[in-house]
């Protein structure tokens, strides 16, 4: 079976009053059926823009170029009418803030059954039964009564569970979750993550998890892509990324997190400086100014994403790549 999603050489540009911003530059990735892929990066790294382009949801001043194939068919640049046959039915997206992604004027029932009535041509009654069943599976108490409520009557965790239910109702082949638990409390985050893992695994849904939280990625993902300043800087199997990071940025991120399983250090390691301004990127590596291993070459020549060979490739070596001039970290 082929890849669910195949992105090649994706560019996303935004026209702003201060000039053009290259938010995503030359990004390529594939997602296989049933696989869970983590996309890690800081604000401005372009991680969300890649998948807004996939969903055809870029802001109006944004322009995407390159290729995005869903189940082998090109979807980039297709009209909304054509995308609507895929969006919500075969691929869905969950956003960070559940309050702003639910319509406050409609009951949960109206919002959940809409996808089934539109995409599956179900009757209202059958759609309601399926929606109640799904709400029960995401552990909404008294789902049969609660389905008549409005979003404001739900707590933050319940709203996000309703979003998960809505996204999975049509059993999509691809679920994109953009910081799905960032706005939630840690105990609720644990519930939602466990739920998403269980439901996608059961239905063989491929899951793309966009997050800045390396801990969440460690628990859930098979493969990880690290983005910085609009480009992919490292990819690999989850254990290789965490145990043998090969890009100085990935290594820096891992080292700068205080963690519960280590002894308390006097000082946290840091990545010095600030993320770069995307409008003023030089010819070299975007991370060069903050990199502890910077060489002269890094400032003039942008490193291309290349396969890692040798001991750095790690154990689950397939698809192990980095964009760095260093041979070994």
């Amino acid at each position: 079976m082929g890849a669910v999603l195949e992105i090649a050489d994706l560019q996303v540009r935004f026209a702003t009053p201060e000039g053009e911003v290259e938010a995503v530059n030359g990004v390529g990735l594939t997602v296989q059926p049933g696989e869970t892929v983590g996309i890690v990066g800081e604000s401005g790294s372009g991680k969300s823009q890649v998948f807004l382009a996939v969903m055809g949801l870029l802001a109006s001043n944004g322009q995407a170029a390159g290729s995005i194939k869903f189940q082998g068919g090109e979807i980039l640049g297709r009209p909304a009418s054509e995308l609507n046959r895929i969006r919500g039915a075969r691929m869905s997206m969950i956003f960070q803030d559940p309050m702003t992604s639910l319509n406050p004027y409609l009951t949960i029932e109206r919002q959940l059954t809409e996808v089934l009535v539109t995409h599956r041509a179900m009757s209202r009654g059958a759609a309601r039964a399926a929606a109640v069943d799904m709400l029960e599976r995401v552990q909404i108490p008294e789902a049969d009564r609660r389905i008549g409520h409005y979003p404001f009557e739900f707590s933050g965790g319940m709203r996000q569970r309703a979003m998960v239910a809505m996204a999975l109702l049509c059993q999509p082949e691809l679920l994109i979750a953009d910081e799905p638990t960032t706005a939630l409390d840690v105990t609720v985050q644990a519930q939602i993550l466990a739920l998403m893992a269980e439901l996608t695994r059961g239905a063989r849904t491929a899951l793309v998890l966009i997050t800045h939280d390396l801990g969440v990625v460690a628990g859930l993902c098979d493969r990880v892509l690290v983005m910085y300043a609009g480009r992919i800087v490292e990819t690999g199997a989850v254990r290789d990324i965490f145990h043998r990071p090969q890009h100085p940025y990935t290594a820096g991120l891992l080292a700068s997190m205080p963690r519960l399983d280590n002894d308390v250090a006097k000082q946290l390691q840091t990545i010095p400086g600030q993320p770069p301004n995307l409008q003023r990127l030089g010819p070299g590596c975007a991370f060069a100014e903050r990199c502890p291993r910077v060489m002269d070459r890094c400032r003039v020549e942008r490193p291309l994403l290349r396969l890692i060979s040798g001991p750095g490739a790690g154990q689950d070596g397939e698809g192990r790549m980095k964009a760095c001039h260093l041979e070994d970290l």
Binding site: S155, G156, D185, V186, A190, L214, F242, L260, D261, Q274
Partner: protein, 327 residues
């Protein structure tokens, strides 16, 4: 240990919510903070953790008397703050400062960085000459990792991490004895969080101020705090020294919080024992009877619904409010 800097006894903050005849809502009392007591030593950092709505931010503001309707006692170096008149309280504020979560929102966009950082100087030391004030501001900017030549820039020209440094410089300029940090790194990128955490700890080493560090991030709190207080629906669930709390959490809620923190290591994260709580935080307007945590607690018994557990001292300042902590 000498006398505490701050001694808080039975502090409560109750908000009276107006009822609505139209929506058939009776008037209600929201107990955002309920009978909280603790001491804070000079140079000590107390971490306040808990989920949204647990009262941690309200408690931080109540200690600084930034809220109305505060009951209980806040004793500052032996002096009851409630008994001070307005002017005396104003003078005390020089020694107590706060750093907010959203660094850009906490800064006036129409003031230059220099004016923002100098504002506490103008308020509390109006006699200081302009030259002296500027020198002090520039020294403080250098101290928090900002370039002193950027003194005439405006907040929007800085990144989130740099804005947080400006907020910290403003809080530190009068060398306060207490700084309340309300989620100071939560809005920042991971690579910037560590910079700000290190800065706060460096400043504490240099100036010796006490800190109340409010955060929902248990990994960060463990790194900065000497002692940690866990709040649930406005009440103290557990309080203990840092190492004691993380090694030996006694309250089921603390145990669940710690077990829910993801570990950035695929092998450990997938192998660890999880205590996943059921359900959501109950409404603080209508908290459960007895122990407020009982509706989500894996150890709950009928006793928990009848009787509210008191905060019980265990060993070495470790206190826990649970009927079943030893089971």
């Amino acid at each position: 240990m000498g006398p505490p800097l701050l001694s808080v006894r039975d502090l409560s903050v109750h908000f009276h919510m107006a009822g609505s005849w139209l929506w058939r809502q009776p008037a209600a009392v929201l107990k955002a903070v309920d009978e909280v007591s603790f001491d804070l030593a000079p140079g000590e950092t107390l971490g306040l953790v808990g989920e949204s709505g647990c009262g941690k931010s309200t408690l931080g503001r109540a200690v600084l008397r930034l809220l109305p309707n505060i009951q209980g006692r806040v004793v500052w170096l032996g002096e009851d703050l409630a008994k001070l008149d307005e002017e005396a309280m104003r003078q005390k504020r020089r020694e107590m400062q706060i750093v907010f979560q959203d660094p850009l929102a906490a800064l006036d966009p129409r003031m230059t960085v220099g004016e923002i950082i100098a504002e506490p100087l103008r308020t509390f030391r109006p006699d200081m000459s302009a030259a002296e004030s500027k020198a002090k501001v520039q020294a403080m900017m250098a101290g928090v990792g900002l370039l002193p030549q950027q003194i005439n820039r405006y907040p929007h020209e800085f990144s989130g991490g740099q804005c947080q440094r400006i907020g910290i410089a403003r809080a530190m300029i009068n060398e306060p004895k207490l700084v309340v940090c309300d989620e100071p790194v939560s809005a920042l990128d991971v690579s910037i969080q560590a910079q700000i955490v290190n800065l706060l700890m460096d400043l504490q080493r240099q100036y010796g101020m006490s800190m109340i560090f409010i955060s929902h991030n248990l990994s960060v709190v463990r790194h900065v705090a000497h002692r940690i207080m866990v709040l649930y629906l406005g009440r103290v669930a557990e309080i203990a020294d840092r190492d004691q709390l993380y090694r030996n959490p006694r309250h089921p809620y603390t145990q669940a919080l710690i077990s829910a923190v993801p570990i950035p290591d695929p092998d450990l994260e997938r192998a660890k024992a999880r205590l996943i709580l059921k359900g959501d935080l109950p409404s603080p307007l209508d908290p459960p009877s007895g122990c407020a945590f009982r509706t989500r607690c894996p150890k709950a018994t009928p006793l928990c619904a009848q009787l509210r557990p008191e905060l019980t001292p265990l060993e070495l300042g470790h206190r826990v409010a649970c009927h079943h902590w030893d089971k």
